[in-house]
Amino acid sequence: MRFRVLAQRWRRAGQLAVWAAVCAAALHRGIPPLHGAPAPAPSIVLRDPDGHLVDPFLAAEGRAAVAFLFASVDCPVSNRYAPVVQRLHGTYAAKDVAFWLVYPNPGDTPQAVKEHLKAYGYPVHALLDPRHDLVKLTGVTVTPEAAVFDRARALAYRGRIDNRYVSLGVERPAATEHTLADVLDAVLARRTVPQRPAPAVGCFIVDFVQ
């Protein structure tokens, strides 16, 4: 595993300069860039609600993609996506995608997260990210928001799950673009991931004072 990562790093080193220029604005805001990023899977260790330490990349070794869904206990938009997330999990876990539900708000305690998982019937593995290690790695800003790492464990996508919400208070009766599903299909088919500059709509992750 480590050898492969190092090899990828080395191969991609040449692209670094171009990437850095393109994504200067993103870097400036402290948000990691998308695409072209070499960013091999770093080793990140978080706790699950039972207090066990988990490296979500290591645990997903060999899987075709790793998807993180950022959620929070008290955000109504995030909660309303629970059935959608469960369906996506049902479809794509079977297609070799590792799914993680991530709670980034420090107020969402392990106990609160356990109760939340039970109340909403999430079958997805959950992680707590109160120090925002994964938040910083992926650049997400709100819940619900998704981040997808491809086979090479480069960040392939960050953003909304679908286009149901246009902004807070403006929503479609049903989504007409299933952005995350499209991204996962592309990653699985080794196609270029479609990039749609559509920010996720939801509740800002706490402490996101800029």
């Binding site: 008290d74 955000c75 109504p76 909660n79 309303r80 996506y81 629970a82 059935p83 959608v84 708000n105 420090p106 107020g107 109340a119 909403y120 019937g121 246009v166 902004s167 807070l168 208070g169 403006v170 929503e171 479609r172 009766p173 049903a174 007409t176 509740c203 800002f204 706490v206 402490d207 996101f208 004072v209 800029q210």
Partner: protein, 679 residues
């Protein structure tokens, strides 16, 4: 009894002394000193523990955690949830308005890293009332337990609950508690005295129904009911209560938003009663178009409507109503001298905030003022709220996938006579609009039984029973085994004068449901009118037994008892009728005649007769000769012949058809002799 709500008080204080003020640009902004006063006054009603909002913002750690969110949603105008343009129409009650200075404080606080500051600067935390905001209700009804599915589009469901009162009550207020504020977004509340909503509910399995709000489900006596988060209408002042009669159903349409998991929903409605009968009744005017027909792709479809006021009015409140394609909503008044008085403006209409906008300062509009509205709609794919993708042609209709455009305007007139003039002109206008809307709607849904029922009900109100019969027949053909369908047709046939056909329909309804109280009542009533006393009596008795709170059943039973010469029994039923329906002049008049002038002297009660007849005369503004005739007889029975003669003169001045009879009675009174009814 008058209570000032802490919340209303908070708003008043906010109006008097805008919180936050203007903080000098170079002063550091802190939570304790600058932000907390804003949050307490403008957000705390909902964003407190146990409030309607999903999270509290009352402490520094909570506000700090949501700091970016606060600036984003207040900056975009999403919060506080208030749709109306602040500079148009005037100040409204419960308006949680953030000033430009407030917004600036919030922005600068977050820009500075959302510091806490010195906790000694914190203002005292306001206290909010948990539970009922208006105090302990006199009566609480709950909607039947319902489980909202975890996902999908918003759910609209209508619950019908019998209001358990055994005599007429005067309602000063109504408080709605959502029970589960996470999913209950707003409630549209009406009352139905006809039973039609109940029949709609019975036709559908499970708690509540998902069809149409019946035409007979109305705002009671010109009073808005309903709830949006953060809104508790204050108790009505003395003399403005509305009368709740036994047998009335509460019709609660809930707008619910799925939360991501199955949610139990059980709402509670508290009633607050007063002792004083209404002295004034508001009028509920409605502007709007039901000829709405928007082509797909149309981005700027406009409807306008106007109504010229025939009398002076005082405007109390407005409520705009439209669905998902409505974009901009404007209501205004053009005074006789040409000046415009703004009523309300909503630039970005959001269907999900169905607010009643009550003016802090009601204002007068003179006779000849034109109330006007202009609504625009976007039926293109660029309107994300469009329920149809791709867009389709859309007509007027009650379902949220159809479109509507109404502006309700609540006004008070100076006198009862003015109210009658206003209602007379307004009802004609509105019903003509209703017929256009429903008939058009039926063209696209000819097989909808509820729709046929609604149109038929409308024709009954318009006194066009033949048209009602046509539509009830269509509804019956669509659902032949529904007892209510036979009942409805029977009722319309009765009003159309087709008694034999009506009797057959009532009998079929009873064959399907033997304990159908209203069918017993109406069948008994028709048989009574046909002179078939023997057949009528068992049905009338069954009607009273099955529904002892139905004033009509008691009234019919009284009529039958009188025909059978059972005066005491008739008096008993009429007394019950008057208790159950104290504002209906006819039973008041009939009972007072018996109490004043019955040949059976054991039932007489002259003093009560005077009181009841005086109430009937007041209810008819002393312009009904029958009420005055009864009052004169009662006064004579009580020995007050001078008054009796005066009252008889007042009756005769109205030039009634039975003037000769009244004149004959008047000469009796002049001779100091009371009048006695013939046996």
């Amino acid at each position: 009894m008058t209570r000032i709500l802490p919340r209303t008080l908070a708003v008043l204080v906010a109006l008097l002394a805008p919180v936050g003020g203007a903080v000098a640009a170079d002063t550091p902004v802190t939570f304790s000193k600058d932000v907390a006063p804003i949050v307490y006054a403008k957000c705390g009603t909902c964003h407190r523990p146990g409030g309607a909002a999903p999270f509290s913002l009352l402490t520094y750690p909570l506000a700090r955690a949501h700091a970016t969110q606060i600036v984003t949603v207040t900056g975009s105008g999403y919060m506080p949830p208030w749709q109306a343009d602040a500079d148009y129409g005037g100040e409204f009650l419960d308006q949680p308005r953030l000033t430009a200075a407030d917004l600036d404080v919030l922005r600068r606080w977050v820009a500075a890293g959302a510091p806490e500051g010195d906790t000694k600067d914190l203002p005292p935390m306001p206290s909010w009332t948990d539970g009922w905001q208006l105090g302990t209700p006199d009566l609480v009804v709950t909607t039947p337990a319902y489980t909202l599915p975890p996902e999908g589009t918003d759910v609209f469901r209508i619950f019908v609950v019998r209001i358990p009162v055994d005599r007429a009550r005067f309602v000063r207020g109504l408080e709605f508690r959502p029970g589960n504020p996470r999913v209950v977004h707003h409630a549209n509340i009406r009352v139905d005295r006809s039973g039609a909503s109940r029949r709609f509910d019975e036709d559908e399995e499970g708690p509540g129904y998902s069809g149409l709000v019946a035409n007979s489900a109305v705002y009671p006596d010109g009073h808005f009911l309903g709830w949006t988060p953060g809104q508790v209408p204050p108790l009505l002042p003395k003399g403005l209560a509305w009368t709740l009669e036994p047998g009335t159903d509460l019709v609660v349409e809930l707008h619910m938003q799925p939360s991501g998991k199955p949610e139990p929903v059980e709402t509670a409605i508290g009633f607050y009663f007063g002792n004083d009968p209404p002295e004034r009744t508001p009028a509920m005017l409605r502007l709007g178009r039901q000829s709405i027909d928007i082509p797909p792709g149309e981005k700027q479809y406009t409807i306008t409507d106007a109504f010229e006021l025939p009398v002076d009015v005082e405007v109390q409140a407005v409520q705009p109503h439209a669905h998902f394609r409505a974009k901009e909503i404007t209501g205004f008044a053009t005074l006789p001298d040409g000046t415009q008085r703004p009523l309300i403006h909503i630039r970005n209409w959001d269907f999900r905030w169905q607010h009643v906008y009550r003016y802090v300062q009601p204002f007068t509009l003179p006779r000849g003022t034109r109330l006007q509205m202009r609504y625009t709609y976007d039926n293109s794919a660029e309107n994300p709220r469009n329920p149809n993708n791709p867009p389709r042609r859309v007509y007027w209709g009650q379902r949220s996938s159809d479109e509507m455009g109404d502006l309700w305007v609540q006004v008070l007139t100076k006198t009862r006579a003015d109210l009658d003039v206003l209602n007379g002109q307004f009802v004609t206008k509105v019903m003509a609009e209703d017929v256009i809307g429903y008939e058009r709607w039926l063209e696209s849904e000819p097989d909808s039984a509820p729709l046929h029922n609604s149109v038929a009900q409308l024709y009954l109100d318009l006194k066009r029973p033949q048209d009602a019969v046509r539509h009830f027949r269509a509804a019956l053909a669509l659902s032949p085994s529904v007892p209510a369908a036979h009942f409805n047709l029977g009722t319309a046939l009765t009003l159309a004068g087709e008694f034999d056909a009506a009797i057959a329909q009532f009998e079929q309804a009873l064959a399907l449901r033997p304990d159908y109280a209203q069918a017993h009542n109406n069948l008994g009533s028709v048989l009574l009118q046909r002179g078939q006393l023997d057949r009528a009596v068992p049905h009338l008795e069954a009607a009273v037994t099955a529904d002892p709170l139905n004033p009509q059943a008691h009234y019919n039973a009284a009529t039958a008892a009188l025909r059978l010469g059972r005066t005491a029994e008739a008096v008993g039923h009429l007394r019950r009728t008057v208790e159950l329906s104290p504002d209906s002049p006819v039973p008041l008049i009939e009972l007072s005649w018996l109490l004043a002038a019955s040949p059976d002297t054991t039932v007489r009660d002259a003093a009560l007769a005077v009181r009841l007849a005086a109430r009937a005369a007041a209810l008819t503004a002393r312009r009904d000769a029958g009420a005055l005739d009864a009052l004169a007889a009662a006064q004579a029975s009580a020995g007050d012949f001078t008054r009796a003669v005066q009252t008889a003169d007042a009756a005769l001045a109205l030039k009634p058809a039975n003037a000769a009879e009244i004149a004959a009675r008047r000469s009796l009174y002049q001779q100091q002799r009371p009048f006695t009814l013939a046996r």
